[in-house]
């Protein structure tokens, strides 16, 4: 964690610190490590650089404010020249069933995709399965040093759609997705790439 992040971290409440750490550890141990299921490429080849360059913005839901209202407010101050990704974490996720949360993701995407913003959602009730997504569960083949989570929360990852499309397109041409489970690839990558082409090309 760089100095600026450490300074921000000190100001957080305890449950906020747990969330912050959890996101950071998830990135370190699952997204950034060479993944044995992906020809030793990391599950997210851009994560390490984004943290290093202080391009990750984490915000935590305030229960006194509605989910949409808070996120819309954050989006108004989101500047992709300063931060490449906003991670909006909600420890009060129980308000949303999986289907309800999926509708929220859809609603934000419908509203903002044309403004070049894309939303990816993660919910505790949608964990990866060994059968379908082992690369997300056990990236190195050694589970002994994987950290335990200490708090549950949903996440909305918000990125610049064009940047996401172009980076993903480069990875596709490199053969990066060849080792991804086909269904997961179609669900979360191919559909997004096709949508971008329909909207912008």
């Amino acid at each position: 964690m760089n100095q600026k992040l450490k300074k921000e971290f000190k100001k957080l409440k305890n449950y906020q610190k747990l969330i912050y750490e959890d996101v950071y550890l998830w990135s370190k141990h699952y997204l950034e490590v060479p993944n044995k299921h992906l020809n030793n490429m990391p599950a997210c080849p851009f994560a390490k650089k984004a943290w290093k360059e202080d391009k990750v913005w984490i915000e935590i839901r305030n229960q006194d404010i509605g989910y949409r209202r808070q996120l819309n407010k954050l989006l108004r101050s989101l500047d992709f020249t300063k931060k490449e990704i906003l991670i909006f974490c909600d420890p009060f996720f129980q308000e949303f069933s999986l289907n309800k949360f999926q509708k929220e993701i859809d609603s934000f995407n419908n509203k903002y995709n044309r403004k070049d913003i894309y939303f990816l959602g993660f919910h505790p009730k949608n964990p990866p399965t060994e059968e379908d997504q082992e690369f997300l569960l056990n990236p190195t083949g050694d589970t002994s040093d994987l950290p335990d989570g200490r708090i549950d929360f949903s996440m909305m990852l918000i990125q610049k759609f064009s940047q996401l499309y172009e980076a993903s397109d480069r990875l596709k041409r490199m053969g990066y997705y060849d080792k991804w489970p086909q269904e997961y690839y179609e669900d979360v990558v191919l559909s997004r790439q096709n949508l971008y082409k329909k909207l912008f090309t």
Binding site: W26, P128, L146
Partner: protein, 37 residues
């Protein structure tokens, strides 16, 4: 409790697109996964 995470599958129906595909129901998908396991 592991902190591994899986992205929620893309919703398909988007306004402005010529063809609307069927909405994928995430909860029924999870149930199917559990049944398989």
């Amino acid at each position: 409790m592991a902190i591994s995470r899986s992205q929620i599958p893309q919703q398909i129906s988007k306004p402005g697109l010529k063809r609307k595909k069927k909405r994928k129901n995430i909860e029924s998908k999870i149930k199917k996964r559990i049944q398989k396991a």
